[in-house]
Symmetry: C2
Subunit: 339 residues, 2 copies
């Protein structure tokens, strides 16, 4: 109406609102997957460093688990005992999923990678095992082709951003699943192996044109003209920077883990969607609200909701024990038609 015309044109969406929504879905799926079984699933977390961010994440995870009908067990272990403890948890039927807080060996990512591979595939709630990462990069969505009943596990923070984009209806449900970002241009600022690169790959696999930006330069991730390729391909954009990427982008995702970094607001397209997944504020809040259509200031709580979603998926993926009689397989099929 004519009288509206105010200044509140930017919708600020909190991680909390999105997480709440996801947790309802997680609980419903768990009930379907478990059938009559009322046992609380158990997530075991290994803390082998004293990173305050890890401690905080563990506290939030514990609270979210307990509020939503999951057990959460934090195990403080020395680095030298970690592999042995992970192995025990792999073999323990009372443990449904395992999370390890990295880095364990700062400055030695190969050693961390080794630790990641010790978590059994059936308990890797973070989707960090090579098999899961391979599937993600190659746009392989199931563990058991051609049955396609067991979905592959995706890493939590990148998947949290996907779930946020679904909630914001940037994924267009009118399009076929797997193509729902077709036509969208997205800039992801950060290309770490843990977050930025998997995120760029996921978004491009779903049909987006993705500019992946870090201090070393810009890469373009796409499935090609008309998204005719089955998975994304990567191309270097020599000489490009945020100056070229941002004015074209429908969605701008910041994940730079540095307090001083700010996305230059003047380059952002009027009406863009801006999402920050860094623990620092990558956007200048007041300025971005004058320009963006939607602003999501943080994603942490969604990441934890996704962690529980992955845990329920691991449970659903397990070989059903007498499931045929209980209709569990059927429930699993219905519960996991989505991404």
């Amino acid at each position: 109406m004519a009288s509206q015309g105010g200044h509140k044109t930017c919708k600020v969406v909190t991680a909390e609102a999105i997480a709440k929504n996801l947790l309802v879905e997680v609980k419903e799926t768990l009930a379907k997957v478990q059938g009559g079984n009322q046992a609380k699933p158990t997530l075991v977390a290994f803390l082998a460093n004293d990173d305050p961010a890890a401690v905080k994440y563990a506290e939030w995870s514990k609270k979210t688990c307990e509020d939503n009908g999951f057990n959460f067990e934090l195990r403080n272990v020395g680095k030298e005992l970690l592999e042995e403890e992970i192995t025990k948890s792999n073999e323990d039927d009372a443990v449904d999923g395992t999370i390890v807080y990295y880095p364990i060996f700062p400055g030695n990512p190969t050693h961390d990678k080794y630790v990641q591979e010790t978590v059994s595939l059936e308990k890797d709630v973070e989707g960090l095992r090579h098999k899961y990462l391979y599937n993600m990069y190659h746009n392989v969505r199931f563990m058991d082709p051609p049955e396609n009943k067991k979905k592959s596990i995706l890493p939590c923070t990148p998947l949290a951003v996907v779930k946020i984009l679904e909630y914001l209806q940037i994924y267009n449900p009118i399009l076929e699943a797997g193509n729902r970002l077709f036509g969208k241009t997205i800039t992801v600022i950060n290309r770490s192996e843990v977050n930025g690169r998997p995120l760029a790959a996921l978004l491009a696999n779903d049909g987006a044109t993705v500019y992946s930006v870090d201090v070393t330069g810009v890469q373009l991730f796409t499935r090609g003209q008309g998204i005719k390729q089955p998975r994304h391909q990567v191309e270097d954009k020599e000489g490009w920077s945020l100056e070229q990427c941002l004015p074209m982008s429908d969605v701008v995702i910041g994940g730079v883990p540095v307090e001083s970094f700010k996305v230059p607001t003047e380059l952002i397209r009027d009406g863009a969607v801006c999402i920050n997944f860094s623990s620092y504020r990558n956007f200048d809040g007041p300025a971005v609200k004058e320009k963006a259509a939607i602003y999501v200031p943080s994603v942490g709580k969604v990441t934890i909701a996704v962690l529980l979603r992955n845990l329920v998926r691991l449970i659903a993926n397990r070989e059903p024990k007498g499931a045929a009689e209980k209709g569990t397989v059927q429930a699993r099929e219905e519960a996991f038609v989505d991404g």
Copy 2:
């Protein structure tokens, strides 16, 4: 999944599917508005020319009316008797809405305009009365401020395109009503007073950046940076053509009433949404399907569904006769929260 990767990346959405959806909503709204009253609403159509397109439109309207619980009465009248017949229908309580097929006086649009003003505001199902057009251009959505219970009537073809964009989820329901196209860039090819110009205005009023293109040039319709203006403003884009507009456009809407005209596919953005409202095919179908994310080849059936939607709105807008007892006012409020 990796094996999909085929060529069917363009979703073709028919006017029929969208109309079907709208007609369900129309019937539900009618039931609410009428309360216990089962009377079929009556739409009267005046045909005073022998335009074959008008005859065809009348036939479709009749069929759609009858399939959906409305009476449709086609009245063939001579041009010289038309004003008198419209006046009679204005005064006839058995008539709920009136439609007139234009042009009546080809080459004399002022005379047609005069005829349009003879239809009473309460029966103008096409929203062509000056009051309705004024409201549309000025982004005034209600007839009775400050109560805001009686919604203004919008012209059928432009509103049909709006309803299509809602169905396709280009309108983002996450955003506040009235701002749901914020961040979208749309090219409308056609700037006629009947269709193209009102459509560009409607889309810009809802927050889009709209390039309105015809043979005389390009105009930009927007509510300004950050959509802070209460209604659209228009700016000439000197020297611009489709070459500048199309590569930036998320949505391309063709309405050129000429068989030979085709939107140049090579200029359309990969993953765009393409909608044709011309009675000719403005897009090269096979080529556009290789590039667009969504293609809507025609809108006619949606226009007729919108005609019935407008008719129900006129009925809801009438002074309630003893409505307080029947809860009609309440029903009306619930039924018309949307655009």
